[in-house]
């Protein structure tokens, strides 16, 4: 049955690939937590630069914090792992958290100490969700995969590639 499920997943992934990513030659922009933190402005605003990504497919990497139901249809993406109690400074809050709504049928093995690569449609700006409350950065219809050898950028560091 797992073989069947793997085959089905493979076929679905192929189907998803045919409609998901941008056309050949178009690069998916990668955002970092440093960019998100830098984009925050007073009065619940974000910069025009980060708003330019609204509605576009982006990539971002971070740790999964399971803040929604355990089927991971929704989770938080954070610069800091949910299990490390002493490893590094705490996130400053909203500006370093991305609210991720996964695409239907996404299946992944959760590991609190692994970095994941998220690709999906980006939204920036203050929004209140009935179930998940206030958010500033969201990725919808997200696909998730493990990011081997990934690095998370802290505020003040290089803005990444």
């Amino acid at each position: 049955m797992r073989a069947t499920a793997t085959a089905l997943t493979f076929l679905l992934a192929l189907a998803g690939l045919s409609i998901g990513p941008p056309a050949r030659g178009e690069e998916i922009p990668r955002l970092t937590f440093a960019q998100l933190a830098d984009s925050m402005r007073a009065n619940l605003g974000v910069t025009q630069g980060i708003r330019a990504y609204n509605g576009r497919e982006i990539e971002i990497q971070g740790f999964i914090i399971p803040a929604g139901p355990p089927d991971l249809s929704f989770f938080l993406l954070s610069r800091v792992s949910g299990t490390g109690n002493y490893c590094c400074e705490l996130p400053s809050g909203q500006d370093e958290t991305v609210y991720v709504y996964t695409a239907r049928g996404v299946s992944l093995r959760y590991d609190p100490v692994r970095v994941y690569r998220i690709r999906g449609v980006f939204e920036a700006g203050h929004q209140v969700d009935r179930s998940y409350g206030v958010s500033f950065f969201r990725v919808r219809d997200a696909r998730v995969e493990e990011a081997v050898g990934a690095r998370i950028f802290k505020v003040g560091e290089t803005k990444g590639p």
């Binding site: 049955m1 797992r2 089905l8 399971p66 139901p69 938080l76 705490l90 093995r109």
Partner: protein, 395 residues
């Protein structure tokens, strides 16, 4: 006579062997279906019963024990925590809702859960709000003058037969503190259905240790932050201290699912071996049948049947046996899964039984028929190559 009629006659001619082969295939398929449905049902049961609170604060120890006990009423409660932990959380400006919970013993196996009225609050973000089917909630009383009122979950009320105004207690030592049923909740599909809710004041006064204690005890506090982005900071803030811990319930459940995934992997290997055994049994049956029928096949050929027709008849027979076994197995597997789910549920296990049609049934049926075709291939080729002159010789 059409190939279908010939196959039907063949099945009738070897009735006992055919039935036994169908039963063998059905048992194998039942095992697959029941295993998949039950593992899926347990996982879905955990998801359906998960709490809407994002954080559980309890005593230092196993976070899995904390979540399983507080959310699913399984395992033993973690050690007590002071009431001040709840008061600190309630005063925290980052916290929208903090609900105190103290786990008690049980009445006829249904656990006492002491809490406040906040446990039943209909927040917009809650998927399962415990709503009253009849009666009312217990009153919030002064700690030293409890009313000993109880609100029963739907299953607890149904199985104990208790209804509003009934008084009950379990064990002679509890006779001094009989509880009075004041309400019954609607079914929620969660562990709340199997709980008996009482007020914290009643719990503290019923319990000999807490009655004398200056600092009133709790088992845990359920927490919902105002902004989910504060979850990481809250989680870490409570974990760095030496006495208390904070657990993310969904993270704990996902870890349990990872373990279930390992079990599923082992199960997949076992099921693959079962499929091979069933396929081999089918092959041996078809092979022997073809050897026995060489003379009949030669006769058919002599009467004008083409080689391809003979090949098709053997393949069709093999697929028919596999198909019948597959159908019986799918039905039987659902029956076994339903029985297993009800037994697990009776023991308090979080399990749902997914009877809805999904890809599982058609994929399994297709795979079994394909297995039948594969098992029948060599016997079919044997039949295809049967020489007329050689096999029609006088006996």
């Amino acid at each position: 006579m059409t190939p279908v009629t010939v196959v039907w006659r063949y099945l009738q001619g070897r009735f006992v062997t055919s039935v036994l082969t169908v039963v063998s295939v059905a048992l194998g398929v039942s095992l697959v279906i029941a295993s998949v449905l039950l593992t899926r049902g347990i996982k879905e049961g955990f998801i359906a019963g998960a709490t809407d609170y994002n954080l559980i604060v309890g005593a230092k120890g196993s976070p899995t024990q904390l979540v399983l006990n507080v959310v699913f009423r399984m395992d033993a409660p973690t050690p007590n925590i002071p009431l001040s932990a709840y008061e600190d959380l309630r005063a925290d400006p980052r916290v929208e809702a903090a609900v105190p919970v103290a786990m008690g013993d049980a009445y006829q196996g249904f656990r006492y859960v002491a809490t406040s009225a906040a446990y039943f609050a209909p927040f917009s973000w809650r998927r399962h709000v415990p709503a009253l089917a009849t009666g009312r909630l217990f009153r919030s009383e002064a700690p030293e003058r409890p009313d000993y009122e109880a609100v029963l979950g739907a299953d607890a009320a149904r199985r104990t037969g208790l209804k509003p105004e009934d008084r009950f207690y379990e064990g002679e030592e509890m006779a001094t503190y009989p509880l009075r049923v004041v309400g019954v909740l609607r079914p929620t599909g969660t562990a709340d259905d199997r709980a008996i809710f009482i007020s914290l004041a009643s719990y503290w006064e019923m319990n000999e240790v807490s009655r004398k204690a200056r600092v009133k005890p709790l088992t845990a506090v359920l927490v919902r932050p105002k902004r989910l982005s504060d979850l990481t900071a809250l989680h870490r803030g409570w974990n760095v201290g030496p006495d208390l811990q904070a657990a993310l319930p969904s993270a704990i459940l996902l870890n349990i699912f990872n373990l279930l995934g390992l079990v599923e992997d082992v199960l997949a290997v076992v099921l693959a071996v079962v499929a091979v055994v069933v396929g081999l049994y089918l092959f041996v049956t078809m092979y022997n049948a073809t050897l026995e029928r060489r003379r009949e096949i030669a006769t058919m050929r002599a009467l004008g049947a083409r080689r391809a027709t003979v090949l098709g008849i053997v393949l069709l027979e093999s697929c028919a046996i596999a198909g019948l076994g597959g159908l019986a197995g799918i039905l039987g597997g659902h029956g076994v899964a339903a029985l297993g789910a009800s037994l697990l549920a009776a023991r308090g296990g979080p399990v749902t039984h997914a009877l809805a049609l999904s890809a599982l049934q058609p994929v399994t049926f297709g795979a079994v028929v394909a297995l039948g075709a594969l098992a029948g291939l060599l016997p079919a080729v044997l039949a295809y190559r049967t020489e007329v002159a050689e096999n029609l010789a006088p006996l």
